[in-house]
């Protein structure tokens, strides 16, 4: 029971959804959407597990006075602040003017945007370290990156304005993006398609059963 039922569920659901792709007749035409909805519903239940886990881990830290336990109180505070306000506001919780929206705009958004913008710094440090002409591959990487980076700002115009129209940095950037970059992306995408076909099949056939199958 414990082992066979999950394997059977996976196989039946998966193969059925593949076959249904070729059947437009109702009710099968909506079944793929329906199963996607089921996923979201299950995930909506599961988020309780995650949040309870988060609260437990941080409660443990406070209780055991582990290093940095004071910050765990901040986690608790933040969580309940949003949850209480969010449920209080009801379904229109994100409408402008609500308290939840204020918290979103003044707490969540700046944290989010700043964490995102840190990328600007990391892009710089990563390119400084990694873009060295150590070998042929790295050299190609480096040159393509330099071209495109400069071709996208007015600075690139100054560097190459002496060249005839059509041969300037901006044009080279466009050409790289349109052709060689497209080619490589296609190779990667086609490979991914095959990888997904194969690993879906392995999962559905129960060959790859590291989870949902244990004792």
């Amino acid at each position: 029971m414990r082992r066979e039922v999950p394997l059977a569920i996976t196989a039946i659901v998966g193969f059925a959804l593949i076959i249904v792709y070729f059947i437009p007749h109702p009710p099968f035409n909506h079944s793929r959407d329906f199963f996607e909805d089921l996923f979201f519903i299950i995930a909506a239940f599961a988020i309780w597990l995650g949040c309870l886990n988060l609260l437990k881990v941080n409660a443990d830290k406070v209780y055991l006075k582990k290093k940095g336990w004071t910050f765990s109180i901040v986690v608790w505070f933040g969580f309940f602040l949003m949850v209480i306000v969010g449920f209080w506001e009801g379904r229109g919780f994100m409408n402008p003017g609500t308290t939840f929206y204020y918290l979103y705009d003044k707490l969540y958004y700046p944290l989010n945007a700043t964490m995102f913008s840190i990328l600007a710094f990391f892009v710089a440090s990563a390119s400084y370290r990694a873009f060295r002409a150590r070998n042929k591959e790295a050299t190609i990487l480096l040159i393509a990156a330099l071209f495109v980076m400069l071709g996208r700002v007015p600075f690139g115009y100054y560097l190459s304005s002496w060249l005839p129209e059509g041969w300037r940095l901006g044009n080279i950037t466009d050409w790289i993006m349109d052709f060689p970059q497209t080619a490589a992306q296609r190779a990667i995408m086609i490979g991914i398609a095959l990888g997904i076909v194969s690993s879906s099949l392995r999962v559905l056939l129960g060959l790859e059963r590291t989870f949902a199958s244990g004792e």
């Binding site: 996923f39 988060l54 370290r129």
Partner: protein, 385 residues
């Protein structure tokens, strides 16, 4: 008689007058209106086609006498017709998507002039119907079948003991080294299974790879930690590690707290994992699964603390960042091959060989198809539509 001469005079006037008045005359009507059930669908739709009015020059332009077409529908040939919708000039098809299955409908098409219009004869009746098979997808079906069969074929070959060659994948050769190093240094191994949920094949691949990595950490008694961004992923990872540890004979080393949830939020998760990296200084970091913009933030921080980093993703946009900041990167398809490769299970390796058959088919058609088109022999691209 008086009336007749009036009309006669009027027509004469019209013919002799300037184009301005000509415009008020209706354009000639469209002909050959044919209504048929729309094929390959779930019903509820009828396709109407017609031959355009001879006055229609086919483009939306000032000088075109036909400004568009209106499509009318009725349940009786001579009954009352209601206007269904409009198309632009030049159009020759319309899809009625509000038909009831099994009800016969008649259609007329109106050519619209500036102030007047002319109507076609009604079509023969048509009924909407749902189909059982979408024939437009026949080549998809065929291809899926060929791929599935070749994968299953090679899995069986491998099962029967045939040796299959699989090339080296550098990133995966390094897994053992990374785990070994962490054990030596007595530091943690972080496994980051991406930020997507279990509704992504990449996450599922990440979880299966985790199974193989966990087997190694169990053998080496290395410390493994898996912070997740999704609750379902947390649950799956726990199941996977538990299974791996008991298979490796070390269920005693498994502990549920190895896997924990942080937050569903992309950058909230990133901020927390960054903090973990700098505080715990892991010896090895695995970044496997579906990543977005946070890829570089995580990889740069991991690099900063001196961890060996093995990344893998099928997000083409994030690969450059992993390649730049990590020691090894599994590119696209390699991510899906990783668990098979690491397990060394002949059955799983067989499936990799099956994938190669797919690659061969695609390559063949890219080359032959392109050559055919170049020499204008035949367009094969319909096979992949």
């Amino acid at each position: 008689m008086i009336r007749f001469s009036f009309i006669f005079l009027f027509t004469l006037l019209l013919f002799s007058s300037a184009t301005g008045q000509e415009a008020t005359l209706p354009p000639s009507p469209p002909t050959d209106v044919i209504a048929k059930d729309t094929p390959n669908d779930a019903g509820g739709s009828i396709t109407i086609t017609w031959k355009k009015s001879p006055d229609d020059i086919g483009a939306v332009r000032e000088e075109n006498k036909v400004k568009g077409y209106e499509i009318l529908r009725s349940t009786e040939s001579e009954g009352e017709y209601e206007v269904l919708g409009k198309t632009t000039a030049g159009a020759q098809t319309y899809f009625d998507t509000h038909a009831h299955n099994g009800v016969p409908y008649y259609y007329k098409v109106r050519a619209l002039g500036i102030q007047s219009f002319s109507e076609s004869l009604p079509s023969t009746p048509a009924k909407a119907k749902a189909q059982w098979i979408d024939w437009r997808r026949k080549y998809t079906f065929l291809l899926a079948l060929i791929l599935a069969l070749s994968i299953v074929y090679f899995i069986n070959q491998a099962k029967s003991g045939k040796q299959l060659f699989i090339r080296k994948i550098a990133g995966l050769e390094a897994v053992e080294e990374a785990v070994g190093r962490a054990t030596e240094m007595g530091r943690k191994i972080f496994y980051i299974p991406g930020i997507s949920d279990m509704d992504s094949m990449q996450t599922i691949a990440a979880v299966t790879i985790l199974g193989q990595v966990a087997k190694k950490t169990a053998e080496y008694e290395a410390k493994l930690e898996v912070p997740t961004s999704r609750s379902l992923v947390m649950v799956s990872c726990r199941e996977t590690i538990k299974e791996a540890y008991s298979n490796a004979g070390r269920p005693d080393l498994y502990n549920e707290d190895m896997v924990y949830y942080l937050t569903d939020d992309q950058f909230g998760y990133t901020a927390a994992v960054d903090g973990l990296f700098v505080r715990e200084k892991p010896a090895a970091v695995f970044l496997q699964g579906q990543f977005y913009a946070e890829s570089l933030i995580l990889a740069e921080t991991g690099n900063y603390v001196g961890a060996i980093q093995i990344a893998g993703t099928a997000q083409p946009a994030q690969l450059p960042f992993f390649v730049a900041a990590c020691d090894y990167t599994l590119i696209g398809e390699e991510l899906f091959a990783a668990s098979a490769y690491l397990s060394r299970d002949p059955k799983l390796l067989g499936s990799l060989k099956g994938q190669d058959v797919g690659k061969f088919i695609f390559l063949f058609f890219i080359i032959v198809g392109s050559l055919f088109i170049t020499f204008e022999i035949y367009d094969l691209s319909f096979l992949f539509r």
